[in-house]
Symmetry: C2
Subunit: 423 residues, 2 copies
Amino acid sequence: MTALFVDLFAELETLGQASRAASRVLAASSTAARNQALLALARRLRQPQPQVTEANAQDVAQAQARGLEAPLVDRLRLTPAILETLAQGCEQIAALPDPVGEISQLARRESGIQVGRMRVPLGVFGMVFESRPNVSIEVASLGIKSGNACILRGGSEALASNRALVALVQAALEEAGLPPAAVQLVPHADRAAVSWMCTATEHLDLLIPRGGKGLIERVAAEAKVPVLKHLDGNCHCYVDEHADLAMALTVVDNAKTQKVSPCNATESLLVHRAVAAAFLPRLAERWAPKGVEFRACPESLPLLPGALPATEADWAAEYLDTKISVKLVGGLDEAIAHINRYGSHHTDTILTQHHGHAMRFLREVDSASVMVNASTRFADGFEYGLGAEIGISTDKLHARGPVGLEGLTSQKWIVLGEGQVRT
Amino acid sequence: MTALFVDLFAELETLGQASRAASRVLAASSTAARNQALLALARRLRQPQPQVTEANAQDVAQAQARGLEAPLVDRLRLTPAILETLAQGCEQIAALPDPVGEISQLARRESGIQVGRMRVPLGVFGMVFESRPNVSIEVASLGIKSGNACILRGGSEALASNRALVALVQAALEEAGLPPAAVQLVPHADRAAVSWMCTATEHLDLLIPRGGKGLIERVAAEAKVPVLKHLDGNCHCYVDEHADLAMALTVVDNAKTQKVSPCNATESLLVHRAVAAAFLPRLAERWAPKGVEFRACPESLPLLPGALPATEADWAAEYLDTKISVKLVGGLDEAIAHINRYGSHHTDTILTQHHGHAMRFLREVDSASVMVNASTRFADGFEYGLGAEIGISTDKLHARGPVGLEGLTSQKWIVLGEGQVRT
């Protein structure tokens, strides 16, 4: 190991220890103190902050000098509108109920002890993200609300901006009497810092990567710390033989075209053979002006003018574009089997008026969100009423689907006794 | 890679695929069918099963021939009493409520969709265990009840017995119309099979190691599959200045000496300085006939006749023996800090009549089970009313503390709509 790495790791160890210590204070802090920090942060985001403006201008200038493409440069910019949105976000999070301390299922056992569960912060979580510096504030505010310390590692191109924003957060924490180390930034662009976070099981209770597939795959491969992530969003709509076809048309249209880039947009359409001839030409007509490109199975190809033949790769594809794969199926079993085989366990919906089919689809499709007669685009923390979203998980353990404040907590067992002993 | 390993891995891949397919059937199966399989298994365990008896005799004979110590040989034996206990266990698990399919928190959102959660099986879990072949039946029955497929990998010395027991399970599954592949045994003593299970993220949703610390450390180090485990049980009793000392005496005695080998037995005693002189000599007197050995801090040493001075290593030790470390503290803060630093996040209890101290201890001690005025020995799935226990977790994600059937399930989101789309 080079001397540089030894220094980096020593520095990160110190940072990790400070996070753990701060997490103990935050876990024990009052709801009022954490909300006060969030409101202080909102106020600071609205005040003129020359050091933020200058740091951001520096990042933007450097990105332009390095020849970064204009849309990527734009993602770096902290405009007054963005700072206002971030301030509003902090206020909204302050207004949410405190997830910490809730006691549930407290019941007396035969031995006389009362056993229940208490919701508590996880401790320290890490967030690795790319590009947009706003993420620093969004994540810090969720961390503070949920009583966790967090360690942020943003993209190298936004390092100065992230530093300035985290300084604002730390000042707000201090104002509320909370330890500034509860939110810390890894002050290095070095990729080795990500490796450290992947393996820092002593310091991190959870690691959340947010960004391109390359980043998430790298973190998933290296991580010894538990990871909250989703890789793909290959979402399906299944139009059952008992579907209301007018409703199906509206929902499938929305699921695919309301916005094509989010992970909850539909990428694959399964249609029961019995309704294909009635449904698909109407869909093709509706989508002709929108320029949606069909990748169709041999049977559906003749029903979709201009469609391309689908290959095996299409069934697993996440286009994030105005493209959709189409396959006819013989019934519910085949639809469920196809989704469980080719899907990404993200979000899938059935269009049907058949109660039994709806119930079987809900139970047997092995995805984080399973829907009946609703657009896959609803798979979202805000639409689900979580009030905030730290990420989406397609894994099955801990948190599944859109993850809000609850996903940053755990439930421990509590036992209340009056001197009971085990016999 | 040698040809042997290529063959082994190819065989394990096939086994994994069969498990996944069986898990889909089990997840969709009725409560009645799964209970029928459990009752059929109980019946078969009570019938004479020559192939089980012979296989077990073979394992025992081989162990004796290899010179295994008598207590270890005894752990292999499937006596009629053990088979009867296993049969009763299957019946008890059949009688538990079905954890699968429960829908909770279903509420209408502003958009008109109804959003809730549905409890579903994880899919396929793996269990790596040592020695006692009974574990095959215990784990298989929990897997069946929770609607999961499972892959078992027992100790090499019990391979024939495990094979015979898993054959009984598979016959019971078949009798209930369920796929026998829902419970499979890795038919190899090769350690490479454990490595395969650690990394088979396609095939396993969860891996549970049960056995010695060496096994658990190895699995934790190698695993890419999520692991449910606990390593140490360094549990604490803290006798607060506001404790009822007679109650404290009873509870601490029970927590340490009711049984010294379980992971929830107390290993370390913290006593507030203000009550040490009144409490410790009485405890020493009570434990004199029991031969409990004290490892005491300098301040408590004079209060405990015959105690040895504690070293730094004693604060983190899991003795699983008639030994206890003792440390005086100046108050609640010091007690909590000591437990969070040296403890194993397993189970810790406070003895106090002070409400505020009790509440702070519950909230701030970062352990899977935190208790007030109750013996640490209560940290157990049966005592907590889970009806069964697949393991104990000292990790914070997914399941924490004693883990029952619920820990073998996850909650997915369900959305019920009537054609709603996102705007």
